[in-house]
């Protein structure tokens, strides 16, 4: 039973560029959430997707956008990269219930470095 998989594992980009991160949820899960974790901090909620729609969004600018596909996989896109976007980006999957009631299954993340 495959868990949550993310690609790529590491990525180096230059300021102003755009990046796309990918996530496949755990088998049987239909909801995908994305989190940003800066060094030494806890994860911060970016947004959540269910039925190919963004359902909830945290306090992140419009430069952060996403997509969910019919097979429940998801992409996170970040435009006009800033140095402050350097972080570990975590994808988490769950069944469609309110996040507070459902344990999240996390992937190992994509380490993004912006130079």
């Amino acid at each position: 039973d495959a868990g949550v998989t993310q690609s790529p594992t590491h990525l180096i980009k230059t300021r102003g560029q755009q990046v796309t991160l990918r996530c496949s949820p755990k088998s049987g899960h239909d909801t995908v959430s994305w989190y940003q974790q800066a060094l030494g901090q806890g994860p911060q909620f970016i947004f959540q997707y269910y039925e190919e729609e963004e359902r909830q969004r945290g306090n992140f600018p419009d430069r952060f956008s996403g997509h969910q596909f019919p097979n429940y996989s998801s992409e996170l896109n970040v435009n006009a990269l800033l140095l402050g976007d350097s972080a570990l980006y975590l994808c988490a999957s769950s069944l469609w219930v309110t996040p507070a009631n459902s344990p999240l299954h996390f992937g190992n993340g994509t380490r993004l470095t912006v130079t």
Partner: protein, 110 residues
Amino acid sequence: SQQGEEDPQALSIQEGENATMNCSYKTSINNLQWYRQNSGRGLVHLILIRSNEREKHSGRLRVTLDTSKKSSSLLITASRAADTASYFCATGRGADGLTFGKGTHLIIQP
């Protein structure tokens, strides 16, 4: 912003000892969850305690919740080297995404 705040920020104990870490939060919650993160990897869910529960056990883990004080504690008994990790509490309310604290970094010395 971080709702939960773990205390202490770092904890170093000998193998076999018990480890206790605390979490405080600010607003009302539905449930509280604890996660573990090994260095550079994803988070692993440990336990979920509902707002109407006061204590919950899972193996060597014991979690308490005091909604009147807006606080929770995680106790790991008989610690092992493999317990070395960062531990995060996470709170949620309604349909909002989970809010994580900054974590407690636990080091188990052999």
